[in-house]
Subunit: 201 residues, 2 copies
Amino acid sequence: MSEVDSGPGVPLAAEVAAQAVRRLTSAILDARARGVSNPDVSEKISALADRLEAVAAHPHECVTGEIGTQVGVLERSPVSGPKNPVAVPLRFERCEDGSSLAHAEFPRQYQGPPGIVHGGISGLVLDVAMAVANRTAGPAGMTAEMTLRYLRPTPLHTEVTVRGRHLRAEGRKVWSQGTFEVDGEPTVVCDALFITKEHVQ
Amino acid sequence: MSEVDSGPGVPLAAEVAAQAVRRLTSAILDARARGVSNPDVSEKISALADRLEAVAAHPHECVTGEIGTQVGVLERSPVSGPKNPVAVPLRFERCEDGSSLAHAEFPRQYQGPPGIVHGGISGLVLDVAMAVANRTAGPAGMTAEMTLRYLRPTPLHTEVTVRGRHLRAEGRKVWSQGTFEVDGEPTVVCDALFITKEHVQ
């Protein structure tokens, strides 16, 4: 039962499963917001988990090959991976000027204070926005230090423009900036230092 | 069908649902790591989401009452909320010295590089660790600035000790620190400034 790419524009099986779980996650929280509880839903979900666990890799096993490749890692990223059910529904594009760009609307599962996106979630998304921009300029490296400044709240269910910029590189150090914007106003700004394996220039 | 607390130690319906989705999320990714795909699982998950969406609050509706209360917000936190399926399975305790403490093992859905916890996920968890410690000392406030330093990789599926410390307060400013430790060695250190609504002392 290995996965076959169904052609351009057609999502893969793992993406369909992730999207279904993402919908289910939102629906559970939205239903609870109305005080509705469906215990048999939990039983049905557990039964599906039982079935998959029976054929799954041991959770502790670090599988090489597909999941170990760079593409596999990005596709299963907990931030933007279309195959990971905890990931925020967004796709990064690489712009001509080398920056990364994504548009996101955050549903209830990413809520911090009522109606507001959790601050930690913005940091998570901005880390990846900067890594994507860095990769356009050269090696992305690993995040070594990251400073987040929260300027104003980012509302749920509202279009957020997410951008990452590669600023400069020196030896193995890469400096980058990432921003969240709502209605043209920055809500979160992130500055980071990444360290690459090799010298960049 | 409103939710009734089933007594001490017995999880509420929303916690059971969240835990079931968390298991399903891990199982989907672990099954994919073996190249196994079950398209009918996605259909069954979608059908459950359809059922819940039919009785759910509109996603854009910011429901007051239960979900708007401080307890509701914490229980549904995307970081540590037992009722939120994207949350990491961990519970913070408040220690006698005012620090917060949690033990966590991160499954595959929180993976960054192969076998390693995503750096953004550590930031997300540390934000909450510090907020819990601040709340022991007084008002928690909102995160204004947060600097994360990644010292070494944090492995998946390994016990991580998460700690938050309230450092000092001055007027409306509260300084805090959070750490990830594995085998007694820090892997991530976070320093943050929180701003409270009222003067702290």
